[in-house]
């Protein structure tokens, strides 16, 4: 055998072992989702049979139907949708203004204020959770969606400012300056030039905020009650209420993650760009 084909063979082997390793890692990462889905379409008999099956003999969507008919899963879904949407709108509105100021103005105390926004991401969740519980209780807004939305802004606002600031810094100032020379004021230049160009980034940031609010559990379990429980809390409560009904639990899980996956796949490219920019530059 000549040297060249030996090298080819070695390269082929190396690539093959890489593919196998990748496949193993992917199976590890994705199997839990497959298993959750399979569980959600298994009939109860098969779920608790002595023999574990890797694909149901008779797939059924009964668990999904029961989830809505017996336990009114619409309610937590609507609650989550409300909280996540309002959190997104509020966070984006205030963060966009602040990020614009940080990116486009050089003013006294700029560094100090940026520090404030960066630092507060470092506080442990539980350090905010405990006093917020006491404060919300005193203010009489505990167990209302407002309590949840406000507590989510503790991490969504700093994060959005950081992301949007990065995106804005990448947009050349010359664009607005040209418009302003032509007689537009700053606000007009922002609305007509910056906003349309920034839109995909705003959408990506918004998607991330929505996902974190939709997924959040630790605040939600302490700040909601029966009436305004969000999906994560409802899912956890199923364990207490139903004994352990794995069929319905996994069905609820699949329903929860579908919107997240769809949003993530759409926003993914910009989001990854924005997230990695800081760390990679650093």
């Amino acid at each position: 055998m000549n040297k060249l084909s030996q090298r080819h063979a070695r390269r082929f082997l190396r690539q093959l072992s890489g593919h196998i390793l990748l496949a193993v890692l992917l199976i590890f990462l994705l199997f839990p989702f497959y298993w959750t889905f399979v569980t959600s379409i298994k009939p109860g008999k098969e779920l608790y049979a002595s023999k574990v099956t890797y694909w149901p003999h008779s797939p059924t969507f009964d668990s999904y139907k029961r989830l809505f008919s017996e336990y009114n899963f619409w309610k937590p879904m609507l609650n989550s949708l409300l909280v996540a949407s309002l959190t997104t709108v509020l966070s984006l509105a205030v963060s966009l203004l602040a990020a614009y100021a940080f990116s486009r103005y050089r003013f006294k105390g700029r560094k100090f204020f940026m520090t404030i926004f960066l630092t507060n991401n470092m506080f442990p969740t539980v350090l905010l959770l405990i006093p917020l519980f006491a404060i919300m209780r005193k203010a009489g807004i505990l167990y209302t969606p407002i309590a949840l939305i406000l507590s989510y802004t503790t991490f969504t606002i700093p994060f959005s400012i950081w992301l949007l600031n990065g995106y804005l810094d990448d947009l050349p100032r010359s664009l607005e300056e040209a418009a302003m020379v032509d007689g537009a004021n700053r606000a007009q230049a922002f609305l007509k030039i910056i906003l349309p160009m920034l839109m995909p980034c705003i959408v990506a940031t918004g998607a991330y905020v929505f996902m974190t609010a939709w997924n959040e559990y630790t605040f939600a379990v302490m700040f909601t009650n029966e009436g305004n429980r969000t999906i994560p809390v409802a899912l956890k409560n199923f364990i207490g209420q139903l004994g352990v009904e794995w069929g319905m639990l996994t069905a609820g899980g699949i329903i929860t993650i579908i919107p997240v996956c769809i949003m993530f796949l759409f926003a993914q490219k910009r989001l990854v760009e924005g997230l990695t920019a800081g760390a990679v530059k650093g």
Partner: protein, 294 residues
Amino acid sequence: MHKKKLSPWPYLLIAPALITIIAVVFFPVINAILMSFQSYDLRRPSQIRFTGLANYFAAAQDPLFWQALLKTIVWVAAGVWFQFVFGFMLALLLNRKFLGRGLIRSISLIPWVTPGVLIGLMWRWIFDGNYGVLNDLLVRLGLIRQNVPFLAQQSTAFPSVILTIIWQGIPFFALMLLAGLQGIPEELYDAADVDGANAFQRFFMITVPSLKNTIFVTTLLRIIWVANSVDVIFNLTEGGPAYSTQTLSVYVFNKGNALNLGYASTMAILLALVLSMVAIPYLKTLFKAQEESK
């Protein structure tokens, strides 16, 4: 274009965000500090009063506090280390050219956006002692004879929750490291090839040094997140059995749920102090990066 005269606009623009953050972050943190000096138990509201350092002394003498602190260190060290190792592996594997790479990259990130509750529930079902698929697989492979109640016994519960957090964190490391890998200029590797470097040398002489900053920042970020994480452990074991999976965050959460806010605040502050060892270098790096990019 730099405005030298003092314009009110930047201040007005940051005001809404600033006011919100002061109200929901800084005001509560001050409250937590105050509560940590009080006997503040909502089950006994009539007895709320200042007790000085009593809560701190109580923590120092609380064996569960020290155990939780130790658990936190193991949880973070083991969790983040393996997230890094497997995340790096995944990033290297995804950095090659092959068909369907974009799709596989996106899909492999999904654990990162999965709600903590769902992660807890999915793995709880996988680890289940009676019907769990992990037991079934291990029995089929002949590795165990009879089912192991992974989450119900002390010896296996903590390794099981750590495995779960590793699973969750691999994609984030892979995402950051992959972005870093793509920023390494091809010429560096070409030059190494000319010099006759093998794959091992290329990895340690080029790849790792080029990714130094990414690795540093991502690791610090992950340490903070993993230390703060409550939902995964709480939904797997609630800190049990016999407190064997109770990290400091989970302990604070459990105390908060029990409405003992004074003591919970004390421990949360101690956790924040421990974490500041990681948070401060992280912030310093971020600022350096910001200054340089300006």
